[in-house]
């Protein structure tokens, strides 16, 4: 009962926050509401006893991805009102896309729901059950190759992203680190021995 109540609370927050993401006038608000979305979905996963996934969702999306998002959004100073100008031209296309997505989701739920009691929810696990251990065991044994493949793909993506954005601008002043580290006190300061002044 308590769990159900919490679920509906989080689900309501999630839906409202998600609406806020697309309706907010200020892009920074949109980004922050998206953070709230991730948080509440993590909470819902926690209710499903998927604690590893919930924590990783917060760690990866809230802790890293959204920080960079916010970073960019705050720097850009986007004026959404201007962007929205002429938005209605694409309204028909948007409606068609939205309908297609809704039909697809409904189809998936409907097909998956064959012979299943959807209202029953996931079976709860015994007390000593470790979500993390189970996931690790699966990932490193049964799905070892797909896992490694995904890792390689990410590596390739990182290398590609870096090579795409790296450009050498001429005339850019940069620190020569090795020269800085190799500097000794004698290069910068000269101690001069002088006779003490005497009063005439």
């Amino acid at each position: 009962m308590l769990i159900e109540g919490l679920y509906f609370l989080f689900a309501a927050i999630l839906v409202l926050a998600a609406l806020g993401v697309i309706l907010a006038r200020n892009p920074v608000y949109s980004a922050l509401l998206l953070v709230l979305c991730f948080f509440t979905s993590a909470a819902i996963w926690l209710l499903l006893e998927a604690e590893f996934l919930a924590v990783v969702l917060v760690l990866v999306y809230v802790g890293a991805v959204m920080v960079l998002f916010l970073f960019v959004v705050m720097m850009l100073d986007i004026n959404l009102a201007e962007l929205r100008h002429g938005f209605t031209r694409f309204a028909a296309l948007g409606v068609v896309t939205a309908l297609a997505v809704i039909v697809e989701i409904a189809g998936v739920v409907w097909v998956r729901g064959f012979g299943l009691d959807l209202a029953a929810g996931a079976a709860s696990q015994p007390a000593g059950y470790s979500n993390t251990l189970e996931l690790g065991t699966l990932l490193y044994t049964r799905y070892a190759y797909p896992f490694e493949l995904a890792a390689m793909l990410l590596l390739v993506a990182i290398v590609a992203a870096i090579t795409l954005t790296m450009r050498r601008r001429p005339g850019l002043k940069q620190q020569d680190v090795s020269a800085q580290v190799a500097t000794r006190a004698a290069d910068r300061v000269r101690l001069v021995r002088m006779d003490a002044d005497t009063k005439q």
Binding site: E51, V55, L59, G63, A64, V67, L70, F71, N131, T132
Partner: protein, 355 residues
């Protein structure tokens, strides 16, 4: 008279957890107050000054009343919200900065018996919470609508994202040595006195973790987020009164948190250094207790203050270079070394309970 011990054990789990949460929060706030005084005293002594020595309590202990006097001063000051600031986020930011600093304590084992939550993914939970600390800072910097504050926020965001990676990799090493992400298990596997603690076999990771911890809390010498000489006070330049006090509270609570985590991950948490020693091991000195954890945390927090009195501030590009090009490679190499150690059963992997 009611027997308190039986009353305590008759309480349901959630009631006991709630009591512990309240106790931890209140003790932490008081500790933060005392830490600010200790910092000023220590740095004063290092610089051949006396530090705060005016406000006494009952005429005793010169200076002990200073943090409380400061708190009341800040409480009664007017909270100024800049005219063009984003009012809502400006007021929300100090709270967002504070919440992760306190929420992290839920999974930390304080003594063999006391831990609020024995979460299995405790280490990941901690990583995700420490990565949330940056939100308070960037929201504050942006909402204040001030160039200095914004510069401070940007610097801090870049710095925290960079050092989180080094921190996470250092913790991967701890995780490999303990074979668990549960903090209780991590402490339990460090059984056997001072040389069995993780610091010995994971020394490079300890150094990386602590340096990243200092950077993550935006403390000197990595405090470019507030760099007084360049950007006045950085992200909290527009805050006054209690808003400023909350940022202060968050920073010091984070310091204690990082010190506690270092103690738990690398110095055996509540375990005694003389555990299992002939002669001393059987006495009180060999017994696990909260006091050992406290002593370790005290020593590690002292390092934060010592750093502040010793090192000049890093330049921004130097911070970035240290994080990305020094600390992260060190952790990667040591994870490889650990792999070999595990293969040949050296160090933590030679422990009997591991096989």
């Amino acid at each position: 008279m009611i027997n308190l011990a039986t009353l305590w054990s008759s309480l349901p789990d959630y009631a006991r957890a709630t009591v512990w949460i309240l106790v931890i929060t209140v003790v932490l706030i008081v500790l933060v107050a005392l830490l600010t005084l200790w910092e000023r005293k220590v740095i004063g002594w290092m610089q051949l000054r006396r530090g705060p020595n005016r406000v006494r309590i009952f005429g005793l202990l010169p200076g002990i009343g200073q943090p409380f006097a400061d708190v009341f001063k800040l409480l009664f000051k007017e909270v100024v919200v800049p005219a063009n600031a984003n009012k809502l986020l400006f007021r929300l930011a100090p709270m967002i900065a504070l919440i992760p600093a306190f929420a992290a304590w839920a999974v930390i084992p304080l003594s063999p018996e006391v831990v609020v939550s024995k979460a299995d993914a405790g280490l990941l939970y901690l990583l995700s919470l420490t990565s949330l600390g940056v939100y308070g800072i960037i929201i504050a910097g942006w909402a204040a609508n001030s160039k200095y504050a914004f510069l401070g926020a940007m610097r801090s965001a870049a710095q925290m994202v960079a050092y989180e990676i080094a921190m996470g990799f250092a913790l991967v090493g701890v995780l490999m040595a303990s074979g668990s992400m549960n903090l209780g298990t991590i402490v339990n596997t460090q059984q056997g006195g001072v040389l069995a603690w993780n610091w010995f076999w994971l020394f490079p990771l300890l150094v990386v973790y602590f340096i990243s911890g200092v950077a993550e809390t935006n403390r000197a010498p990595f405090d470019v987020a507030e760099g007084e000489s360049e950007i006045v006070a950085g992200f909290h330049v527009e805050y006054s009164g209690i808003g400023f006090a909350l940022f202060f509270l968050a920073e010091y609570a984070n310091m204690i948190l990082i010190a506690t985590l270092t103690a738990v991950f690398f110095f055996g948490g509540w375990r005694a250094p003389f555990e299992g020693w002939p002669g001393l091991g059987g006495t009180l000195l060999g017994a696990p207790s909260f006091l050992w954890l406290f002593a370790k945390v005290f020593a590690l927090v002292f390092l934060f203050l010592w750093f502040r009195a010793t090192f000049p501030r890093y330049r921004y590009d130097q911070i970035m270079r240290l994080g990305w090009k020094t600390l992260i490679p060190v952790t990667l190499v040591w994870i490889g070394v650990e792999m070999l150690m595990a293969n040949w059963h050296i160090g933590p992997w030679a422990r009997a309970w591991f096989h």
